[in-house]
Structure formats: C-alpha cells, structure tokens
Amino acid sequence: MWFLGRDLSLGRPPGPTRSGDSVPDSRDLHDPRDAHALEASPYAVDRRRFVGYVLAGATLVAAADLVLADAPPAGAAVPTLPQPAELYDLNDMLTDAARPTANLITVTIDEDGTASFELPRAEVGQGITTSTAMLVAEELDLPVERVRVTLAPARPELLFNQLTGGSNTTISTYTPIRVAAAVARAALLDAAAIVLGDTVAGLVAKGGVITARDGSSVTYGELAVRAAGGAGGRAVEVELKSEAEFTVIGTPTNRVDALAAVTGQKDYTTDLAVPGALPTMVCRAPTLNGTPVAVRNQAQVEAMPGVTHVAQVSTGVAVRAATFGQCIDAVRALDVVWKDGPVAGESDATILRKVRAAQLPMPALPDTPLAQTVSGDFTFWFRSNSPMDTNSAIADVRPDGATIWAGLKSPIVAQQRIAERLGMSQDRVTVNVVTAGGSFGRRLFFDGALEAAEVSQAMGVPVKLMWHRADDARVGRTHPLGTCRVQATVSGSNVLAFNQSLTCVETDFRHGLGEIITAAAADLPAGVGNLGFAETIFALTQEVPYDFGAVTQTLVETDDRFNTGSMRNIYSPDVRVASELVVDKLAAKMKMDPYQFRRRFQRNERLLKVLDTVAQAGEWGRSMPAGTAQGIAIHKEYKGVSACLVEIDTRPATTGRQVRDAVTGPRVTRVTFAIDAGLVINPRGLEAQMQGGINDGIALALTSSLHLRDGHFLEASWDNYFYTRQWNTPPDVRVIVVPSEEKVPGGAGEAGVAATFAAVACAYARATGTMPTEFPINHRTLSFEPKSFVPPIPQSPVNGLELTS
C-alpha cells in the first residue's frame, strides 16, 4: 500500500508505472510515512539518477514528477502547517491516485525539432520562462531558442504545486524539469540508434541533431514520432548532467520573450482578443471595500455612447462598452448609493494606534550587571504592490461553463473560488494563465479574475475587465502597516540578547499554498487559520543573521479589514531595516565601524564573503562630503545571502531638486550589491532581479507609501504613489554575483529588496546624523493633491498634443 502513505503535503503521486521493472527498488529507499521521507524523493536513485517516463502518444512526450528533488524541499522544514490528513481525506486521495499522470510535467518534442514545455507557474517578469527554457535546453542539448515555454492553465491535480511565490520556482522545479528533458533525450537517442544503425554509446547529440560514428545524422524533429511512446508509456531511468558538463546553465542568457516585448508583440491579458469580450470597468465606492446599494441613473448611463451593459455586482457597478475610454466616461457618470466599507472613518493614525495597542510586551532581557540596552522602535506605513499591468481578466461565463484568462500565481484556488462564486462545479471553469505585467505579490490573489467572472455572469456576455489605475492603487492589495521593535543587550564587547517584535495589520495569505484545501484552512473563523499561516511564513523566513546570543523574533497580526497580501519579500524588508539600524547603533555603542562590527558578529561564511565583496568593490570607508554617507547591510533568505553598500546624498542641492508631480529628496548615488544565490541558472536574469529589487528598496526607504485618510487610501496614480523614478534611481549600480559553493539553486525574485532597503536606511541615518524611525521617510509630507473619490476615477486629459517632445 505504498500510495496510502503518499505524502500529500508534497503532492507526490504513485506515478503511472511504479510497478515498472526499471524501478523495482526505488520504493524501498524511503518509507513515505516516515517524516524523513520528506528529505528526498522516492524516485531519486542517487543524486543524479532519476526515473521519468515516456508517455503514450503519437509524438515524443517525456515526463517527470513535479516533486522530484535532490535536496530537501522547502516544505521539509514546515512543521506547523496544518496536517494534510485533517483537510484531505482518503477518498480524495484515492480519486487523485486514480489519475495516472496526475502530477507530471512534460517536455514534448515536436516534428519541427523544437521542444515545448508547459510551466505550471506564472511568468510575471521574473524571468522563469527563460531559466526554464535553459534547463530544458541543457539536458536536451538543444539551443535555448528552440525551446518553447508556455504557461499551464489551472491544473487542480497539481495540488500544492502550482503556486508561484516565495521565490521558489527554480528551487522547486530545477530537478524535475531536467529529468523530463533528460528522458526526452534518452528516448531520442534510443530511436536514433535504430535509425542510424549505431549504438547509443556511439551517438553524439548536439544542437538538436544526433550524429553516429559514421557521420550519418538525424534531427530531433525527424525522430519525434519514432521516439514516441505509442500506445503504452514506459519508465526510463536517466542520469542528469553533472555541473562540470553544463554549457547552458550558468551562462548569461537574454530573455526568451525580449523580442516580443520590444516590438509590442508580447501579449498581456488586456491585449488578448477574445470574441465578444468588450472593455469593462467597475465604479467603486468612496470608502475602501464599500458596497453598492442602488444605481440611480442606470438607464441614462446605458444610453451613453458605446455603452452596452451596466450591472450592479458585489464590488461595485460594472460597465461594458466599445472602448475603455467610454467605460471611464460611464463610470464617472454613474450615480450610485453606497454602503460604507469596514474602515470608514479610519486613518493612518487610528490604525497605528490599534497596532500599537496590539503590541505584546517585549521578552525580558538578560538581567546582567553592567549590561546596557540598545533599542529601536520603527513604524512602516502601508505600501502598494500595484504593478504596471493593473488587475485585469477576461471572463466568458455561460450557463454551462466559464473560461477565464488572467495573470495568476495561484490559478487552482482561483479556479475553485470562481466556480464557487458562479455556482458551478470546478471542472466547468477553465482558468488560463496569461503572462502578466509585473506582480510584486499582487498576482498571488485573483481579485480581477473573480470580479470579471461575476460581471460576465451578471451581464450574460464576455467581458475584458480592467481595473483603472486609481482602483489598482486604492482598492488593490497593500503591504500592511506595522511596527517593529528591537531591543538588544550589550555587555562590554558582546551582544547578549537580541529581541525583535513585528506587529502589523494582517497579511492575507488566503491564497493558501495554491490549492483550496490549504486556502480553506487559512480562512477559518476569526483569523485563526490565517494567523497560523502568517506565523509559519514569518518563522520560516525571518532570522537575525548575527551571533547575538539569545535571539527572539515574534510576529503579532491584528485587523483583517484591509486588502493586503505578500508584497515582494513579505516581512523581510521591514524586519531587516529595524535590525540593521539597531546593528549600527550597537556598533556605535561599541565604538566600532559598522562594516567591521558586522564582520565580527558574523557566523556564516557565505555572508562574510558577500559582505567583504561589497565593502571592497564599493570602497567602504572612503572619504565622503558632509551630508553624504555610506550604509551597509546584509540579508539571508531563499537559500542565498546578500549584502548591499549604498551611498546617499542628502545635501540641499539634491533634496531641493524640483521635478513636477514628483518627489525628489535624498538620492542614492551608488549601489554595490553582492549576492550568493546558490547555483545560478541565468546570471543575467539574476542581475536584473537584483537591479529591480534595489529600486524597490530605495522606494520603500525614501518615497513610496499609501496614506489612509477618512476610510480610503488617497493615492490614485503614479503621480501620487512615488515609486522610484529615473530622477531617484542611482546612476551607479553594480551587482556582483558571487561564485557559490552551493550545488542547488536559491531564489532570486525577491532577494534584492531587504538588504537595499536596510542599507539605504543606515546610510540616511549616517548622512543626516538622525536615525529615521518611520518609513518611507517622507510619509508625513503629503506630496500631492488627492484625486476625487466621487467619481472614483480621473478623466483622461485632452491636452496631449500640446505636450509632444
């Protein structure tokens, strides 16, 4: 009864051909009921030998189990997640076990000699379609440009394995994707041996062509049908390439979607032409999450030019028209009676008071004679993870089924929630995952897709829903407001204890781990379930990477009335800023240089290396004019380590720069960033992610926040929400990818944010002589005139021809 013990928390299936002769002993390697079974896949024969499958079919389709891993999966250290058995019973499991190819990912060889792979993750700009194409190309000996990577639609059978988050894509897919590709290569070689009349050992595969000893050759395309599994599939044992054999992995590679992007051919959700799906927008309440009661002028709005439908839905009043411009006109014309939302009357100050009231006493510090306490108390205001491509979704809901298109990082939960909302069974809802214009955590949720489905059902026609920028900024998900307190005890030249307590408005993790079983657990009454997830995620991501004696880090969350979610790097930016500012205070207390202090209390060799790297490359300690300074900080997460050294200019000539509709202020003039991200698939992509994270860190420190006033967020566009712009970005940025001893990949997408944010905060404190206690530092100054709430979105200007340049 092997499959009864199948570890559902990892979604591990029995596999279609487990009884196959080629893997007679693999099941004996681990007892899956044993917790230690989490440490390796039962399919792993040894570190590089795995079993995959050639599937039945007319062309070659090679498959591997998505949960293959040759290192402890991230989930192995998750002791406090709800036990799967409580949530997912034997019957459910048997149902899934009956699907023979349930958990497989496949590489298909097409007759044109290309390989295709459907990635069960979302590409949102982080570059995973490129790194995935590289993995396939590596094992297949095929040029990267002949690998086509597309995004898989929602596949409920993948259970936990279709969530894009936690910078986990490469960590979790590194082995299984290579196994599938290696199986394809093996099948091609077998077929080629017959065609060319040679033995497999005598063949050489290169660039999609297999050549025999006598010089005769055959292409992958020519072999695609011959190598196919035919009527029955088979298990194949393969050996992956060793690192020494890598020619693609680790080579800087340009993005596979770059050509489409620079020519305007890369399609995002709103670029798709779905028949009948006309532009649609929603008119929203003047208070956050307010709801519509009645529409006073529906007939009048329905008669406006281009308008086809007006429908009241749960989140507002939807309008559908021939163009989005006519939707904007209609939304602005609507006269709606609203019921106030749950935070009506609240503001930054009242929410901060509630958070302060929820703070728990800090743990007691060691009571040692001569010990001194160094402390810090910081406030982090609400921030927005709104990307350039606003919440958008196409929905075509019919009586017997629905089809959805959207950029989704948790498509299985989206599918299930949409089915629930529509009153349909899940298998009636097809959810297509579209490449998205950024995420930053926003697309873990599916607010647009759920709303589009509801609107399409209400109107009885297909809709292309797009949130106005004002909606995306005001009603979209936020990084919660919070406080972070730090207390450290110093005695002589030792730090005896370091306590840190983060208290914040709740972070919504109700997307669960990508699957509704866990999402339901996160939705238990009174926030109990979500708190469990939040605590787990906090515990699994946060650490104080110094030798500071007794270390405690705690999280308290309160207030679930806001639309929140994980924002790039979740808790780490705030936690690390608070830590590193206090580290600088500790260094000052001990009269030590901040860099030397960090070295002295460092226990991790990898961290020492990145720290030394930025100190040298960034010229730590060089002489700087008054009003300018350096700051240095480190971070450890996603199986990687990073360090950042910045220089900031806070002199009046810089802070006084005038740019219209903008915030200038202090400027970070130079950034030196070093990362050891483990085994790097694409150094060029990793560098890009760090460059982006650097700009995020700068925005978090200096310019970008949301202001809650009287029950709504004031920010309605990019002239209100001050993300880093060209006049803020550092003219000198250097990212150094430090060679790593690690044999497995780490995460990249979020790793640049925390150390940068902390280094900027430290630099600002040193340049001005005052440690900031609120972030961003400009939050108390409202730098714009708020746009109207009724109507809820601004009209487009008409003077564009006067502003040509």
Binding site: A258, G325, M388, D661, T729, P731, V798, L803, T804
Partner: protein
Amino acid sequence: MPEQTFIVNGERVTVDVEDDVRLLWVLRDLLGITGPKYGCGINVCKACTSHINGKAFNPCAVPVGELADDDEVTTIEGLPGEVAEQQRGAHGLHPMQEAWLERDVVQCGYCQPGQIMAAVALVNRVKAEGRQVTGADLDTIRNICRCGTYTRIREAITDGASRM
C-alpha cells in the same frame, strides 16, 4: 458617428468613433494595435508613449477628433519604419530596439514599448541640439518601470544613441 482618419504606422486608417474618445483606446480597442499600454490614463506613467509626426506623445491624452488626416502616428509596432532599412539591426529593428535586446533590459516588459519610444524621441531631441545624452537627460525621463529596470534602460539609451 463621426469618421476619424489619420495615418498609423504608415497606413491611412478611418475609424467610426466619437471625437472625444482618446486615441489610446482607438488604437487598442478598435484597431487592435496593442503595443501602446495603459498604465494610468492620465499622461503620468507614459506606458502608452508613441510618436506623432516624429515627436513623443501620449495617446491617452489626445481625443481622436484632434488628429488631422495627414497626422502620422507611430507606435512601437511601426518604430523600425522610422529609420532607413540599412540603419536597422540584426533583428531588422530600430537601433534603439536592438540596443534594448542586447542589454536585455526587459523584465515584465509592460512599460518597455513606451520606454523605447520615449528614448528614441529623447535621443533625437538631444542630437538635434548637437550634443550627447547626459545623465541629466536620462533623469528627465518620466516613464515609470515598476520592475525597476532603470539601470539597464540608462545603459541601453546610451548604447542606442551611439547606434542612431
């Protein structure tokens, strides 16, 4: 309904739509030209930046009725046509697009058509003034990129300017 006639990417088009509908929606929703992106609708984010008669402009802020029959609108799709064939690069694209590819600027890519169109106009302007692109010029670019690709944008513009 009024007829709107103008030239887009070298082709004369006529569309039946009200005068006040902004050009961005005429391009995207009615003509299916989706290179110019929506990012704000109020001429702030610059994701829709295109060219009119060779100069950068933002179609989200132009009522279509204001266009004359012989106004030439160029979107990212038509950018290669702004230079002679021998000036185009390995991919047959405008030198700035080629620089963008070589520098691997794109992350999510959403703002990048607008960034490239703004970059070309900036370089044309600076060259007309008989000088090189400076850091101060780059600081004036208003196109927002939420992925934070600014570092490579700056490198690519300098590179692209040398190819133009």
